[in-house]
Amino acid sequence: MLSLVIHKQLDAFALDLRLDAPTKKIIVLFGASGAGKSLTLAAIAGFMTPDAGRIAIDERVLLDVARGVNLAPQARKIGMVRQDLALFPHLSAADNIAYGMTGARAAKMTRVRELLQLVRLAEFGARKPSELSGGQQQRIALARALAIEPALLLLDEPFSALDLGTRMELRRELKDLQRRLQQSMIFVTHDLGEAALLADEMAVLDQGRVLQFATPNAILRAPRNVRVAQIVGVKNILPAQVIHSNRVRIGARELETLATTFAPGAKVFACIRSERVLLVRRESPTQTHPNEMAGELLDEESDGNDVTLRFRVEGARLQPRENFDLQIDMPVYVYERLQLARERQWRISLKPNVLHLVST
């Protein structure tokens, strides 16, 4: 068990983090910049001393302010890979990896070779960091961090500066490596896709606090509150009022939901992920569902991979204050398949399990 309690008051920022997470997993700290992710890592590494708190990996206590325990970085057995300045620029890749190793020279050399092979750079030991690509540098940094057999590996946006292809490749490799070595990792990122891809469990951070800690799937499907919904990219967050356990009023329209625990009359928000809304052809003979409504495509924009569509529904509005009611995202090829460029009138289907209600 990885147990973190970290309080730190800075001039304009307070870190107030509590997290109990399993070891031998990839734990992702996800949040915008300024959420406190890197400060948390600094506390775990021992670069920053919290005002109060306790940091423990299983039975090993790294920090316990109340008991006066505060291990030096040298004694913590923590590995770290960061986005920039990963390697010692004046040492070769092999010397970087060997840097933290202790023991006989021959044993070190053997271990360096193993680690170079592990990160698939067996031929690159003699090169200086400046002679390696960004992705290769990060691989060497990973090998160097693993060389001390850390109890916990901290990864601070390690792939952010790399191009997309390399990033994807390294993410896969990291995940594979973690599975093989059963290495405990904390991975920090502000990229939701990266978080969802890598995390066994992820913590959503905002203003120095953990808002939610669960599997990526659980967080994406059921964000705990409006703030989490915003952070994990829910585009449709609509004010709603509970009618009874599985009916809500959104705008001027009543919709069916899964059974909720909210009391009738409760003011809530309905979160609808933009990629989970279904479009149905007007003329298709499906039975009209209570959550189905006619809608008109107002505008659209594309980043090349996905298309964002804005719809206004006919009849009772969902968002009377906006000029559109729902945002829908879909891959370009679906957009083309549906011939949305030609057909602007659709039926919109919101399956009950797509509506996730959160308190304000």
Binding site: G46, A75, R82, L85, F88, R144
Partner: protein
């Protein structure tokens, strides 16, 4: 109109007002003025050196290789090298602390370190006498142990170190300051002690500034005159360094003085070239 333009350009340059744009022909007269002034300075700096070379080169072997000259040369090289080594030994921790730590009185220490660079060397000489001289602050203490500093070779080293060490501290401080602290953090996290981190990461990465600082200190020590003659005196073979031998030679043996001068010019030039090689920014004084 043209004269007016020139004045306007000069005015704008004096106040470095880049917001005002000028047409090309107007800039040209400022350029000519600048080139003229620059040539004047370059000529002024070159002429004495040329004169020295012209007089010193045809000199016979005797001017270069007489006993006084060789003794002065040997003494200068020894004392300047010792000074540079002492500067490295005690200046490195000072430079590192000034670059890395914040402490009370840091500004005072920083200024104090710089002071000998602007202090007239004669003042340095008097001050050293008042501290380590027979009747100085610590003179009695040293005497009690049978140590007499003034007018010894040790006094030469002390005078040179006093005057020249700040050059090393300045340069090394800039070098340490430029080493990213996160690399030292990373080293600590890899289990390496702060002391070893300094030798394995900080110093190697600051090496260009450290080496150029040492070269500057060495060159400054080699040329030291005022503090040395006041604190160490002018005894051939013991305290008569090259600059002192040149001074004496003006009266006794002008040829040796010329020869020694040319050697110093060449050495200084070589040091500056070497600094340019090791330090990408060339000569930096912090």
């Amino acid at each position: 109109m043209r004269a007016n333009g020139c004045r306007a350009v000069f005015f704008s340059m004096a106040f470095s007002d880049t917001r005002v744009g000028f047409a090309r022909p107007r800039i040209r007269c400022a350029r000519i003025l600048f080139l003229a002034l620059a040539s004047l300075l370059v000529l002024f700096l070159t002429l004495p050196l040329v004169a020295l070379v012209v007089r010193a080169l045809p000199l016979g072997l005797d001017a270069w290789l007489n006993e006084t000259t060789l003794a002065a040369l040997q003494l200068s090289l020894t004392t300047a090298t010792l000074s540079a080594l002492i500067a490295f030994g005690v200046g490195t921790p000072v430079a590192y602390l000034l670059a890395r730590e914040n402490f009370r009185g840091k500004a005072v220490v920083d200024t104090l370190i710089d002071l000998p660079m602007v202090l007239p060397p004669a003042v340095a000489g008097i001050a050293l006498l008042m501290a380590f001289g027979r009747r100085g602050l610590l003179g009695a203490t040293f005497s009690a142990f049978g140590i007499e500093l003034p007018f010894t070779t040790a006094a030469v080293v002390i005078a040179e170190t006093f005057v020249a060490a700040p050059f090393y501290v300045r340069s090394a401080k800039a070098g340490f300051g430029a080493v990213d602290r996160r690399l030292e953090q990373m080293s600590a996290l890899l289990g390496v002690s702060d002391w070893k981190t300094f030798w394995r990461v900080t110093l190697p990465l600051a090496a260009p500034s450290v080496v150029s600082g040492l070269l500057m200190t060495w060159a400054r020590a080699l040329g030291e005159f005022g503090a040395t003659i006041m604190f160490a005196g002018n005894f051939p073979g013991r305290t008569q360094t090259m600059p002192l031998a040149i001074y004496s030679g003006l009266e006794a043996n002008l040829d040796s003085a010329l020869a020694l001068s040319l050697i110093l010019v060449i050495v200084s030039f070589g040091v500056l070239l070497a600094i340019r090689q090791v330090s990408p920014k060339g000569l930096t004084l912090g």
